[in-house]
């Protein structure tokens, strides 16, 4: 009995060691991958910052919007949308209190605002008619319809590529975002939307939401294949 107890105690300690090493390795690997995700997001954001600044600088140099950059602006918006999806996934994995996630979200929101302004300037100068949606959501538990609204917007964006959706975390502590909220007079219940400059809030169904769009905005002439 004593002999087997000693053997078992030794075995249990070795087993504990193995388990701790395995668990440690798994935690390390998960952290490593999460950090790699954050690094990837950072590098995409850096690239988009350069592209946005470049487009912006082009405008300044020419003192008007260069209309041949409509295409590159569209590409930028779709890259921004992809970044948004990645950021949302990462936020879901790491939680919305993660400092790095918050920093990336701030940078992302700035990029969105700049892209929104560029799009508006291009529209004014070159006669393009993009449909822009500013979408204000919250992850702080004060927006029960935000999941539905977010999903509906993803669907609309994927189905109608001419749609430019800019999502903002209403509670993000960012000066430019606060100014945008003040300028667009966002108030009351979330989710809130500004569709081509027209304010609305609350979300019930996709069908009702589609009615908020200007006529012809959701045309299926160039539906994107999923």
């Amino acid at each position: 009995m004593h002999h087997s107890m000693t053997t078992s105690l030794r075995n249990a300690l070795i087993a504990l060691g193995i388990t701790i090493v395995l668990t440690g390795t798994v935690i390390y690997a998960v952290n490593y991958l999460n950090n790699a995700r954050l690094a990837e997001l950072k590098s995409i954001e850096d690239q988009l910052t350069i592209d946005t600044l470049s487009l912006d600088t082009q405008f300044s140099l020419l003192e008007s919007a260069p209309c041949d950059s409509v295409a590159s602006s569209t590409t930028l918006t779709s890259e921004l949308a992809d970044l948004g999806t990645r950021l949302a996934y990462t936020e879901n994995q790491l939680g919305n209190n993660n400092e790095q996630v918050i920093r990336l979200k701030k940078q992302y929101s700035l990029l969105e605002i700049r892209d929104y302004l560029v799009t508006k300037r291009l529209a004014a100068a070159c006669g393009t008619k993009p449909v822009t949606v500013l979408y204000f959501y919250s992850n702080s538990g004060d927006c029960s319809a935000c999941d539905k609204a977010g999903y509906a917007l993803s669907y609309l964006r994927d189905t109608y590529p001419q749609l430019r959706v800019y999502s903002f975390d209403y509670h993000l502590d960012l000066g430019a975002l606060k100014t945008l909220i003040a300028v667009d007079k966002i108030r009351g219940e979330l989710p809130a939307f500004v569709i081509n400059g027209k304010y609305s809030n609350g979300f019930t169904t996709l069908a009702d939401f589609e009615k908020e769009f200007p006529k012809g905005a959701l045309s299926t002439s160039t539906p994107k294949k999923k």
């Binding site: 009995m1 078992s8 075995n11 504990l16």
Partner: protein
Amino acid sequence: MSVDALACPFIFIAIFFESFVLVTLLSKPARDARARKPGSATPLVAVVVPCRNEAETIAATTDSLLKLNYPADKLEIILVDNASTDDTPAIMARYQAHPNVTVLHAPERGKHKAVNIGIAATEAEFIGCLDADSFVDPDALNEIIPCFASHRVAAVTAAMSIHQPHNIVEHMQNAEYSFGITMRHAMASINGLYVTPGPFSFYRRSVVEALGGFRYGHQTEDMEMALRMQKAGYEIENAPRARVYTRAPHTVLKLIKQRTRWTNGFLRNTLGEYRSLVLNRDHGVLGMLILPFALTAVVSTALLFLLTISQLTLQIVRGIEVRLGVPLSYALAPRYAGFDWFYFPTSVFALLGFIAMVASLALVAYGRHLSQTPFHLGRSMASYLLYGLIAPLWLVRSTAHVALGKNQAWK
């Protein structure tokens, strides 16, 4: 708190236990047990077959015993009918004339009563019990007898697998039994066994008598006897190459019924009469590790299962709610199409769960190798993945039964 976070400690314990089994397998006592050769000693042995309504299999069971490679004059086969209402008594009667076979009747229902009547009818020191739906390998007995070399050994268990598994439920159980072969071998090497299963466990008669014979044990008399032996300070050995094949429930419902009975018995025995063994240093690894682990596993699996089901239902309801009104072609399409490492799902829980699963599959494969039982490994392993979905059902059911004080009959 998420289910993942709650489940992590339990997965940690599961991996710890699997590691413990692995280390134990590699340590000297288990290596010595594996090196044990079939013996040449042939003491007088008796095999008691208690049966109640086993007309379908009793003949094959008896025939397999008659084919044991053991001197005929040293082998007694005692068939005990336990108030069967089918053709069992008639089929038994056919063997009455055989010089090695004794046919007895235990009119009062109860497996323990039938076994005791069988034991009383023989002088043999080593007495085996064989469920009437099980069949032994001809060399099984020669593997078992040498395990009684030490006088501390009160019982020896065999290596069980499923008799001719056909459907997925049987293959799944076969993998589980193979896992059991590995576990039993490892645990026996540190005297950690607390069940002497119905299919071909052997007992030292003097110990069984000294302990008062078999008695009612919450429909798990083989567990009750093993726990009683452990409590009295005896050892329970295992013969990993003593192959015995048993018929298994072939439907999920029957399986759940059988396992609920087993788990009920385990909970009632260990939380009742044998509670003093749990966390008792005097009972070594059985008291300090194995019984606490087994109890934790039952209760935590049941709780986690209920929690997972409720969370899953909530998620599905929310998923449907969010997608309502969006065309199905979009709603049902995968969200992140194509492979992108970025979206590779990583959570500590999922990865630890994966490690635990791979380890248990390795223990299944090792059981097959150790016992040299011929079966289709791939099929059993694939079916084994179902086990995790079904096992919680009986764990929940029996935990509820024990908590509510509900009883169940053995047949």
